[in-house]
Subunit: 355 residues, 2 copies
DNA sequence: CATAAAATGATTGACGTACCTCATAATTTG
DNA sequence: CAAATTATGAGGTACGTCAATCATTTTATG
């Protein structure tokens, strides 16, 4: 076995580990001055096409790669990103907030400052007001869990025309002018939930109940859509009840579940939104437990998975989401071509055995 | 638009967000010299306990955080990490290799150089020989998919006593002196596979077949263990055939599958290792398709998921694995307390709908 | 060919930390 | 109390890039 270095990594290893090329080397091989190299590399303009090509060729030839440490140091750039989250202390938002505070510490060393702003959940005016604040508008980037409202869209439009990168988080606002969406594909989430629902239910008889938070929330709507599509396509045998709205509240979810249990024989319940606690309470003592699939690996859901009260959880990794958002905002505010695949977050699927 | 000079862009945000503290600020608040601060921060020793405490207090008080860009620049440290992989061009290793070449480019800017060394698969001597090479021993870190052999363990022991960080990848060698294992928990993987197998099979009748690559490979062994545990605990109704060895080869797997199909009525097949192609070939034309759960999202498996030939894939994210390995090796060679949770890679679960 | 405009060169000073040397101060030791 | 030891201070250089200025050369324009 000869260990041919993978791609042309010439004489590494043995002894002569030559120092990595710098802009000086590039300038020398291109036979231009340092200033010109700098102008080309940082796209400052005012350079003849001929020289641009000379520099570009020299970059390839020398194998020059910008030393990001030195660049960052020299620039002295600092980033201030603002996350706008609903104030609900409930499961998922809490997880997101935790992930955020985690990264807060980690990113300080990279000169990235993360501000968290809390607005009253479900209140459009609060969100709009937050987006209008001076100190938020001065951020280098804004990520928010946006409400589906024209006022919010208008505010986002204003920000983006001002040049502030805006990301939607968790739930998209595709008709707005946000630069990108960071979160899972919720249609896929719904479809995946349906696959497992159908297979877990197996040959059992009964209807399937979907409990969303709000059908006005795009993420929930999309999950319901995806779920319904696959259920009707692949498991037409199972009756799909109309989706109900639990408003992410345990009490409401409890009532809805009770009601459905009374009216139908349930083979499965898809908990599209929050409020699993209410769901579990309603099922307590019920003779036959339907298959239950829920979203987000909150403490409640984790516990319920372990005790076997629910069967499967589809999670959008909050930590990954935060990281993707930060990377994206940084790229955007540096006007770099975005590197990640748009901020799509793969789904994580949990059962009792792999928590 | 006022063109404020670039550095000195003081008045960010609301109030003018004072510049981040430097070692100078720490020195001033601690009432010691820069040199002393430096000695404390970089643990050079020779500082009175009293001064150490003064500096530490000043760090907290000022909120000083080391500017990693400046530190890296000043240090001029470069890392050279070596990955030792088997030469099998087959599915998973190829994916790992791809992920690695991807990161190779990305990490060059961070002064991390990744070398890939290929050794003949399943040959102990080749692996040992690779670990003995001068240029590999000179690495700042080594990650390898290790064979379960005393010679390899001995070689790892030698390296670690020399101070070279060594990681096991994909399959652990817990009795060796490797610094950490980067990969999934394969027992959990097996348990998870069993959960889905049991639930997907549902009320169908039939036996369950496990096809491992080699039962001498720890990762496969662990998966089989986990699978068996959950099957016997939770789905005792299903007969579990003794695990067979397909040596990750399509032809062997094909023969084994044919054989089993002839001898038993199969409700499910757990493809612990590679060679799914053979499995699919053997099943072609067979009247009843058993539930099939496989490992790693290779091209074959992805295609088979899409066509519905297999039901579920458990994947260990190769990209995440490579990143975790690099982070760990960097921390280790800087003698920092390791930040990640030891390099555990969460399982990714794929069905047709969420590829 | 003169002149304006564009392109390039030469040089310099940050940025914050690491690391080194040498001198001096403070403390311990005999 | 002197000598030896330990702690500290003062100062400088280097890392590679960015960003700016000003002088100079080359090219285009009428």
């Amino acid at each position: 076995m000869i260990d041919v270095p993978h791609n042309l990594m010439a004489f590494r290893g043995e002894e002569n580990h030559l120092p990595r090329p710098t802009i000086h080397d590039v300038a020398r091989t291109a036979r231009v001055s340092l200033a010109t190299v700098d102008r080309v590399l940082n796209k400052r303009g005012g350079v003849a096409e001929k020289s641009v090509r000379k520099v570009e060729r020299a970059v390839v030839e020398t194998g020059y790669i910008r030393d990001v440490s030195a660049a960052n140091l020299s620039r002295g750039r600092e980033y201030r990103f603002t996350f706008i989250l609903p104030d609900s202390a409930t499961g998922f938002v809490a997880l997101l907030r935790d992930a955020l505070t985690q990264e807060q510490a980690r990113f300080k060393a990279d000169k990235v400052q993360l501000d968290i702003v809390t607005t009253s959940a479900f209140e459009i005016t609060a969100q709009v007001e937050a987006l209008r604040r001076r100190n938020i508008r001065n951020s280098d980037g804004i990520a928010l869990i946006a409400s589906e409202a024209p006022e919010v869209q208008a505010e986002i439009a204003r920000l983006t025309t001002e040049g502030v990168p805006v990301l939607t988080l968790v739930s998209d606002l595709p008709r707005s002018s946000r630069h990108a969406y960071v979160g899972p594909d919720n249609v896929v989430a719904g479809r995946t939930a349906a696959t497992f629902m159908g297979r877990f239910v197996g040959t059992s008889e009964g209807a399937i109940l979907m409990i969303a938070g709000s059908l006005a929330a795009r993420d929930h709507m999309e999950r319901v859509m995806g779920f319904r599509m696959v259920m009707t396509e692949q498991f037409p045998r199972l009756a799909l009840l109309p989706a109900v709205q639990g408003f992410d509240t345990a009490d409401t979810v409890k009532d809805l579940t009770r009601q459905a249990l009374g009216a139908h024989s349930l083979a499965g319940i898809y908990a599209v939104g929050a409020g699993t606690r209410g769901l579990l309470a309603a099922l307590k003592g019920h003779p036959h437990r339907p298959i239950i699939i829920a979203h987000e690996l909150t403490d409640t859901n984790r516990g319920a998975l372990l005790t076997g009260e629910i069967d499967l959880v589809i999670d959008q990794n909050p930590a990954a989401e935060v990281q993707a958002a930060i990377t994206l905002m940084r790229d955007l505010s540096d006007q770099r071509p975005i590197t990640t695949n748009g901020g799509a977050i793969p789904l994580s699927i949990f059962v009792r055995e792999n928590i």
